[in-house]
Subunit: 299 residues, 2 copies
């Protein structure tokens, strides 16, 4: 790659804004668009160029990124009026950092393919801290040669970039990630409530088990915050719940019974109904406390 | 502690035999008993003294250990005919390395307390490999001063010894451990079957997620064996299922709803019914494959 890639970034939210900033700071010419304009102005002040639609971004860049809340938002930006489809040109690469349905990612890749655009679904994990530090884990689906071209930009935003397969495979990997994360969050809640009600000290129990076969990032990081009475995000429960919705819908589509994830999804659904959607995903323990008529004793 | 403690070990199975050997090799005079005598002869050849009942062991040692399959076995050895109760003497310490019901551990501690015996419930985690290497994690419930006296022997068999509370608390911690381990085993199975059926490469998916928020010992160690077609234990599924039975019975006793562990217990129950009880606990993926009419492609 001799000439510098020109990059577009659409969706400057909690995740998108710091990612876009890292792309800009690494030296790539950047064009940005966002529904709310304050974030656009912020990036423009740092040297980015502003645009007023996904079409307008796509028309003037080599690689266009999106980072939007859910599948319909990405489909609209990609294929809707004034969307990327309308601003497409031969050789354009489209990268979606959102977490959306694998089937949506495949549909978008097929449609944009018709106008010469190559698509990578590239959901991330690592939260807003990872986005700010440029240390995200990125799971990539789509053609390997497109990933190779986009790699200098990926390197600016993530520390672990894994090509997991064809279009949609990145989203499948993100689903797999959320299956395990939800299982650990719920199991942590169950075991802490269990320990307390069955007459042991939950903090000592966690300490006793976190170095053995139960070891996980969740048990390494989250109990300390829970025991201090801190249930603030981190990763918001309503985002976890949205991602689990994608998992379960995809499971139905492909005929994959997921008994434990089905239960975990229900518990996150309940968490939202109980008004705890803006808390951390580890705060799902609140649903279990409610079921057990119990409350975690905090330090 | 100036005089060398004399130790007794009852139950020389997959876990008990290597633990007893480590105690003997560390230099403690050891008296052993086991229903099947071959293991007794083996330890005697290494320098142990044999006995013919728990009572006979208890009568001549400072600390007596048990390591038996389930709650009724330990209750029988502790409180039954020719049991530890009958051989008890003031100052004797009873340590149970088995995984049994917290309520059983508390009952035994109360009864043996009446004849001057102090009890520690001290279930272990780390498997037969940990038992052989003397690197077990030991979760201890019971009086702190008894643990202090027994500590030189614990040091001979484990690398992490955590005092989690009063009688029964060690068993509660073991339950907590099994809640998390079962959740991870089932979630790993679900995510691998999901990845394959939804059109991604399961090995690449595991690689993409094992360094992030989903990180756990289970994902670090088990997928490699599954992808190589190896479902041999490790930790046998019927032991995992037995431990989950203890968890669920204890949960009912103390009024603790455990929605995700209930489902995971059912899946391990199904695994046993399907004839897979002697396989590794990670082989619970077989139940999910069956539900999804899918089979993991192995290398």
């Amino acid at each position: 790659m001799t000439a510098k890639l020109t990059v577009g970034y659409i969706g400057l939210g909690l995740m998108g804004k710091p990612i876009a900033r890292n792309i800009l700071n690494t030296g790539f010419p950047l064009v940005v668009h966002n529904r709310s304009r304050a974030a656009v102005d912020e990036l423009v002040a740092l040297g980015a160029k502003k645009a007023y639609s996904p079409k307008e971004v796509a028309a003037q860049v080599d690689i266009v990124f999106t980072n939007l809340p859910d599948s319909p938002d990405v489909e609209l930006a990609a294929l809707g009026p004034d969307g990327i489809f309308e601003g497409a040109h031969e050789g354009l690469i489209f990268v979606d950092n959102s977490t959306i349905k694998p089937a949506s990612a495949r549909h978008i890749a097929e449609k944009l393919g018709e106008v010469g655009v190559t698509c990578l679904d590239a959901p991330v994990s690592g939260g807003d801290i990872g986005a700010q530090k440029g240390t995200l884990a990125i799971m990539v689906g789509g053609p390997a040669d497109a990933l190779e071209k986009a790699l200098p930009v990926f390197d600016a935003i993530g520390k672990s970039i894994t090509h997991v397969g064809e279009s949609g495979a990145g989203q499948v990997a993100k689903c797999a990630n959320q299956i395990m994360v939800a299982a650990q969050m719920v199991a942590m809640g169950e075991l802490i409530v269990f320990a307390q009600k069955a007459g042991a000290d939950p903090q000592k129990v966690v300490q006793a088990i976190q170095g053995g076969a139960a070891q996980c990032w969740t048990l390494d990081v989250k109990p300390e915050r829970l025991f201090a009475g801190n249930r603030q995000p981190g990763f918001k429960a309503h985002m976890q719940d949205k991602d689990l919705g994608i998992v379960m819908e995809t499971a139905r589509k492909y005929g994959i019974p997921l008994p434990t994830t089905a239960v975990n999804t229900q518990l996150f659904d309940a968490m939202l109904e109980m008004g705890m959607g803006d808390l951390d995903n580890s705060a799902v323990i609140g649903v279990l406390e409610s079921l057990a008529n119990s409350q975690l004793v905090v330090d």
